[in-house]
């Protein structure tokens, strides 16, 4: 009975993981079936509705939506992952030092740095910086900008998590045994922190893909390389909503929404599992 309960209990998480894997496979494998670069325009007839040959139809820019969606998902996921890794690295490093150090000056300086990055108008500054270098911003550049400007909020979380850990007995044991700050962080706290990091990492992917989409709708990323956001940008440029080309935006968006919802379900389940084990 217990077994069955557990199976049903985590059914949504298992399904979500399966969906994410299928989507990743789709985004990697489909571009291999075509012989041309998915970024090129005018390779297929324009504006044809979904048919057997083009299951998701084609765009006004002469691209196959089936292939375009795969390529866009791949780019969006790649950008989200890279940005999220950088974001978590920066926020974890700064937040954990701010939370763990016994040097009150260092702690005050870092706390105040974190607070400053929390209050700057994040989106306007991101748009400003991105529009300055938009021609040269590839996937990694965009990811870097998002990470460098957006680490404030997560850092604040890390800091409070570590401050909670600091008051536990094993910390005092470590300190009195002559561990340095860094050794304490990586030897004693990391096992606790790894759970937290994995949750932060997935949340980071959701957050960063959302930001990339926003930037692209404003038209300030490199628009030749398809992402979910640039697809929306081009549908707006070509007035696809008014011209009834529903397949152009519907299929990419459905895939995107499914991806985000699956990631979110996974992260919620992870949180509940970790909390249960901790208590």
């Amino acid at each position: 009975m217990e077994e069955v309960n557990n199976m049903v209990k985590y059914l949504d998480m298992k399904m979500s993981i399966a969906i994410v894997i299928v989507l990743i496979l789709y985004s990697i494998l489909v571009p291999f079936t075509k012989s041309y670069d998915p970024r090129t325009w005018n390779v297929v007839p324009r504006d044809t509705p979904p048919s057997l040959q083009y299951p998701f139809g084609t765009t006004s820019t002469g691209q196959d939506v089936f292939l375009l969606t795969a390529w866009a998902l791949r780019n969006t996921l790649l950008l989200g992952t890279i940005a999220s890794i950088m974001l978590v690295l920066i926020s974890f490093t700064i937040g954990s030092i701010a939370g763990a150090t016994r040097n009150s000056l260092l702690r005050a300086i870092l706390t105040y740095l974190i607070d400053s990055f929390c209050i700057i108008p994040f989106l306007p500054i991101l748009i400003m910086v991105a529009s300055l270098w938009r021609e040269r911003l590839g996937i990694i550049g965009t990811a870097l900008i998002i990470a460098v400007l957006g680490w404030g909020g997560q850092s604040r979380n890390v800091r409070s998590v570590i401050m909670g850990l600091r008051e536990r007995t094993f910390t005092y044991t470590a300190t009195f045994s002559g561990y340095s700050i860094f050794k304490t962080i990586y030897k004693s706290y990391l096992p606790y922190i790894v759970q937290w990091l994995s949750v932060a990492f997935i949340f980071g992917i959701i957050f960063c893909t959302g930001l990339e989409t926003t930037l692209s709708v404003f038209g300030i990323t490199s628009l030749e390389n398809p992402t979910i956001g640039t697809i929306i940008f081009w549908t707006r440029e070509y007035q696809a909503y008014l011209r009834g080309l529903w397949w152009w935006y519907t299929f990419p968006l459905i895939f995107f929404i499914i991806l985000l919802a699956s990631l979110y379900i996974i992260v919620r389940r992870l949180i509940s599992i970790f909390i249960i084990r901790e208590v």
């Binding site: 105040y112 929390c118 209050i119 893909t209 959302g210 989409t213 929306i232 919620r268």
Partner: protein, 346 residues
């Protein structure tokens, strides 16, 4: 009771000490935020004064070269670009202290202050309305979902929320635009009033323009608040005193109000205050997508046309709003939640 306890002599000194410390720290944070914003604007390789000059010349007036040179000097002086960076920085700090941000480049020679003053009411109207409506509905829905979380219908709603929650706001806003304007063809106002008066007519005109953007914010924020409250309510339900209340057979309404609801509300009131601090920066994405005449649209236009003065003016208001709200909350918190005390105490 709690108010009296907090104000008793023994706890007043640490409280005052804490408040002063917080205010000093707040001033430093504001200063750093402003400095970051300032540096980002000066990163730009484009010179706004040159842009303004070429725009004036493009208007077709004939001028001799020395006149053009004189004009360039005047404009550079007006914007302060002829001075070294540190002098520009001091000039900027002065303008923040006096709340005079100098002439706007995009709408030259109107000052940035006047532009902000014209668009600020629109933004506050939109954001205040949507923040408060979504908070009330979202928190109530979240608490109910937390109390009855075993029911099947609640589970269904939760999964619906799970789909909406991680969506980028841009996607939702575009979907609303397509559905309401493209398919259902419901009227969205286009009226724009520069001189706002306190009359029913003005209010209706603003409402007719703001309802769709507001609705899109409200839907996403309701989901946000509801998911937050749901998580808090679930945590509160695990507390021993709630379990005791259930075993004693307390009616659901009592559980709802006194045991779970109160605990969720304390935290959500704080979160509301923080998000009210956010309204002064304008909703850049909403206003851009729906073409709403607010600070967000002005901010976006000033970013793409390098209008530094307007940009920094809006950024200043937004930074001040966020920081002051968070400090106020810290100060008021002990009065809302008697469990929290600063220093001293027991």
């Amino acid at each position: 009771m709690s108010l009296k306890a907090n104000l008793s002599k023994s706890s007043l000194m640490p409280l005052m000490h804490n408040i002063i410390e917080r205010i000093i720290l707040m001033l430093f944070t504001i200063w750093t935020g402003l400095t970051i914003a300032f540096l980002v604007t000066r990163l730009s390789p484009r010179n706004p004064a040159e842009q303004l000059l070429s725009r004036i010349l493009a208007a077709g007036t004939f001028m001799r070269p020395e006149e053009i040179e004189a004009m360039r000097r005047t404009i550079m002086e007006l914007f302060g670009f002829d001075k070294p960076l540190w002098e520009q920085y001091i000039y900027f700090l002065k303008s923040v202290l006096s709340f005079r941000f100098g002439p706007s480049l995009l709408n030259f020679p109107v000052s940035a202050n006047d532009i902000i003053a014209v668009y600020m009411p629109w933004t506050i109207f939109l954001m205040l309305m949507s923040t408060i409506i979504s908070w009330v509905i979202g928190v109530v829905v979240g608490i109910f979902m937390g109390i009855w979380d075993k029911r099947r219908s609640i589970r269904a709603i939760e999964y619906m929320f799970i789909i909406i929650f991680p969506l980028p706001y841009v996607v939702l806003a575009l979907a609303f635009l397509i559905i309401f304007v493209g398919i259902l063809r419901i009227y969205v106002g286009v009226a724009y009033i520069t001189h706002l008066t306190l009359s029913l007519e003005t209010f209706l005109a603003m409402l007719s323009r703001a309802w769709l953007p507001a609705l899109s914010i409200i839907v996403l924020s309701i989901v946000n608040w509801a998911m937050g409250s749901l998580a808090l309510a679930r945590t509160a339900k695990k507390e021993p005193y709630v379990f005791y209340g259930v075993i004693r057979g307390l009616p659901t309404t009592a559980l709802l109000k006194r045991y779970v609801g109160k605990n969720v509300l304390i935290l959500q009131v704080t979160a509301l205050a923080l998000s009210l601090g956010n309204i002064f920066g304008g909703a850049l994405v909403t206003e851009y997508i729906f073409n709403y005449p607010g600070l967000g649209t002005v901010l976006y236009n000033s970013i793409v046309s390098n209008d530094f003065n307007t940009m920094l003016g809006i950024a200043t208001y937004s930074i001040l709003g966020v920081t002051i709200a968070s400090v106020l909350i810290d100060m008021i918190y002990p009065f809302i939640d008697p469990r929290v005390r600063y220093g001293g105490g027991e």
